[in-house]
């Protein structure tokens, strides 16, 4: 069914004009110079489903369109399978004290080996010096010199540093106490990890998506903010199938270039049998499998790595997805508006060639898209042709 192609911002129906909106060689846009990789506006309010949220669509042929995000269901086709990450977000930011020096620190839990609810004794963690989210992570002071065996007091929780992970701020942390005590301590003392671009302290309800289930993510799988129960109902009425998996979405930034280059850390996931079956059925009927969020891409492509089909069960996604990755399962991705240089942006390169992503960046800026977890969204279809 042909759909109207309408631009929200410039009110034209011809949305992308190659060589007009931006001269790719010079970066000249609409009469002014655009710094390459210049930051977009950060969404600074913790509003999951802003009424004016936008959706940039990259068609598989490279055409770029602008839609209101509320039109997402219009862009889906009967038979499509939409898969989202149902991880609820942990209150993974824990203020505390480095006991031997008495100095205040912030611990950000950043990884664990499994999704088992009882497996909460050990976490990979990034440790910051004094301060909190109000200071940009790149400006945060380092923690005191950390050594294995150091004790850390985190409100009602106590922990030890087991080891350093090839970096003075990245540690394996072991909590004292039972799983129930650790969950209770996290619930009472932890806060969602947040960054300086959102000024108000976040509560858990700000970061749990409407479909949040197992408590597993370290930062919200925020592509899922696009979903609501009304959207799910509308999808069902249209004949779009919906399934979930659970992936422990990790932290998006540490403020340290060396650590950021190591992101994403290894992330455990679980794919229910019905989701694996739904993927198999979609492939059989040649329907599109659409991931809501980069974590869904990571989990499903990892699970299909050995046999080319998605296996149900648990796994650990360790691979980085980028321009050389051949996507076996996912046909399209709903995601946030990611900036060049991030691991999320690199993942987009598995979907679209660099030239198209250059155009995407240009359009995102030109049309005032907002970035970060509460920002606007993109829908990128896997390119039919390899990069030009």
């Amino acid at each position: 069914m042909p759909l109207p192609r309408h631009c929200l911002s410039c009110h034209t129906t011809r949305l992308f004009r190659p060589g007009h909106d931006r001269d790719l060689r010079t970066g000249e846009v609409a009469g002014r110079l655009r710094a390459r990789g210049a930051p977009m506006n950060a969404a600074s309010q913790a509003i999951q489903r802003s009424h004016d949220a936008k959706l940039l669509v990259i068609r598989r042929g490279g055409a770029i369109e602008h839609w209101p995000r509320s039109a997402l269901v219009d862009l889906l086709e009967p038979g499509d399978l939409l898969i989202a990450n149902d991880a609820a977000t942990l209150p993974a930011s824990l203020p505390g004290i480095h006991v031997s020096t008495g100095r205040s620190i912030e611990v950000r839990l950043a990884g664990r080996r499994s999704l088992e609810p009882t497996d909460v004794g050990r976490f990979l963690a990034v440790i910051f010096g004094t301060g909190d989210f109000r200071t940009r992570t790149e400006d945060r002071p380092p923690p005191p010199l950390l050594t294995p065996g150091d004790r850390i007091q985190l409100g009602p929780l106590q922990a030890s540093i087991e080891s350093l992970e090839d970096h003075p701020r990245l540690v394996q942390l072991r909590f004292d106490g039972s799983a129930a005590e650790i969950w209770s301590g996290l619930a009472s003392h932890g806060n969602p990890i947040q960054y300086a671009h959102v000024r108000q302290p976040l509560a858990l309800w700000d970061v749990w998506t409407p479909i949040a289930g197992p408590a597993a993510a370290f930062e919200p799988p925020s592509a899922g903010f696009v979903l609501s129960w009304s959207v799910l109902s509308a999808m069902a009425r249209k004949g779009v199938e919906f399934a979930t998996l659970t992936h422990a979405a990790g932290i998006s930034s540490t403020g340290d270039p060396d650590l950021d280059a190591r992101l994403p850390f290894d992330e455990p996931y679980r794919i229910p049998a019905y989701t694996a079956d739904a993927v198999a059925r979609a492939k059989e009927r040649r329907a599109r499998v659409i991931a809501v969020g980069t974590t869904v891409v990571r989990a499903l492509e990892d699970a299909a790595q050995s046999e080319g089909r998605v296996k149900a069960g648990t796994g650990l996604s360790t691979r980085k997805i980028g321009p050389t990755t051949r996507l076996r399962i996912i046909d399209a991705l709903v995601s946030g508006t990611h900036e060049r240089g991030t691991s999320h942006y690199e993942l987009l390169r598995a979907f679209a060639p660099s030239r198209t992503l250059d155009q995407m960046e240009n359009q995102l800026e030109l049309h005032g898209y907002r970035t970060h977890e509460f920002g606007d969204s993109i829908l990128v279809e896997k390119a039919t042709a390899r990069p030009l």
């Binding site: 799983a179 209770s184 619930a187 858990l204 309800w205 749990w208 109902s233």
Partner: protein
């Protein structure tokens, strides 16, 4: 105690099912915790008082006790987090915690607004918020296992306008209606919303409402718990062999 007489067809084990019960340290809630543990389910319960939570977890070490106040907005996600942490997910949520309003009971004209607000917060907003916070898990498990249940404990005061039961009756009427709307709106999710009146029970809450009631005429909470567990079990599809094994693993 007489041997259990389950209705034919409802004797299905709840092994592998994950049940969250609010108000689990006394009366019907405690009876529900015991009943679902007896049926093999994994149970997490919530109560305000730490002493009661500790007492019940000492008596029933398989139960996961969580301290929290359903009437407080800030407690809801902390409770949900611990429920999800303890059980890994939820198949059945039982909103049992209730507030009677002013005690002794008062006519509406003499009911303090604060007492009414507390009854609404505990009996309506709390169940609404907790259901919403756990809806993703309930829906995922309904997709995976064929069904999930939210049971809201109702009362005949939800239907009959008893004088002096204004705060409680109006809040339970709202909860009953809320349940019916949830059921309508989420009909395609296979989450079943039940609103059940367990009958007049011999509990501390009943004694607070009607101190001079003839206790021998009242239902034992464990009898009501058995009936409610039967209703929940009937609303859940049989767990597949595969799912049961997975849950046990």
């Amino acid at each position: 105690m007489a041997p259990r007489q389950h209705t034919a067809g409802l004797t299905q084990s709840l092994t592998g099912r994950r049940i969250a019960i609010t108000g689990g340290t006394a009366g019907l809630g405690l009876a529900l915790v015991r009943e679902f543990l007896d049926r093999g389910a994994d149970v997490a319960f919530v109560a305000r008082g730490s002493a009661g939570v500790v007492r019940v977890t000492q008596e029933l070490p398989r139960a996961h006790g969580i301290i929290g106040d359903l009437a407080k907005k800030d407690d809801i996600h902390r409770i949900a987090l611990q429920v999800l942490g303890a059980l890994g997910g939820v198949d059945v949520l039982i909103n049992n915690a209730s507030d009677l309003g002013p005690t002794p009971l008062q006519p509406l004209a003499d009911t303090d607004c604060e007492d009414f607000e507390r009854a609404l917060a505990t009996n309506v907003l709390g169940p609404f918020r907790l259901t919403k916070a756990l809806l993703g898990s309930l829906a995922a498990n309904a997709r995976e296992n064929g069904g999930a249940v939210v049971l809201n404990i109702s009362s005949d005061a939800a239907r009959t306008p008893y004088p002096q039961w204004g705060a409680y009756g109006a809040s339970k009427a709202a909860l009953h209606h809320l349940t019916r709307i949830w059921e309508q709106e989420l009909a395609n999710t296979r989450i079943h919303f039940l609103s059940v009146d367990p009958g007049d029970m011999d509990t501390a809450m009943h004694a607070a409402a009607i101190p001079d009631a003839d206790r021998s005429s009242l239902k034992r909470p464990e009898v009501a718990a058995r009936e409610l567990a039967d209703a929940v079990t009937a609303a859940l599809p049989e767990l597949s062999h595969h799912a049961t094994l997975q849950a046990r693993a």
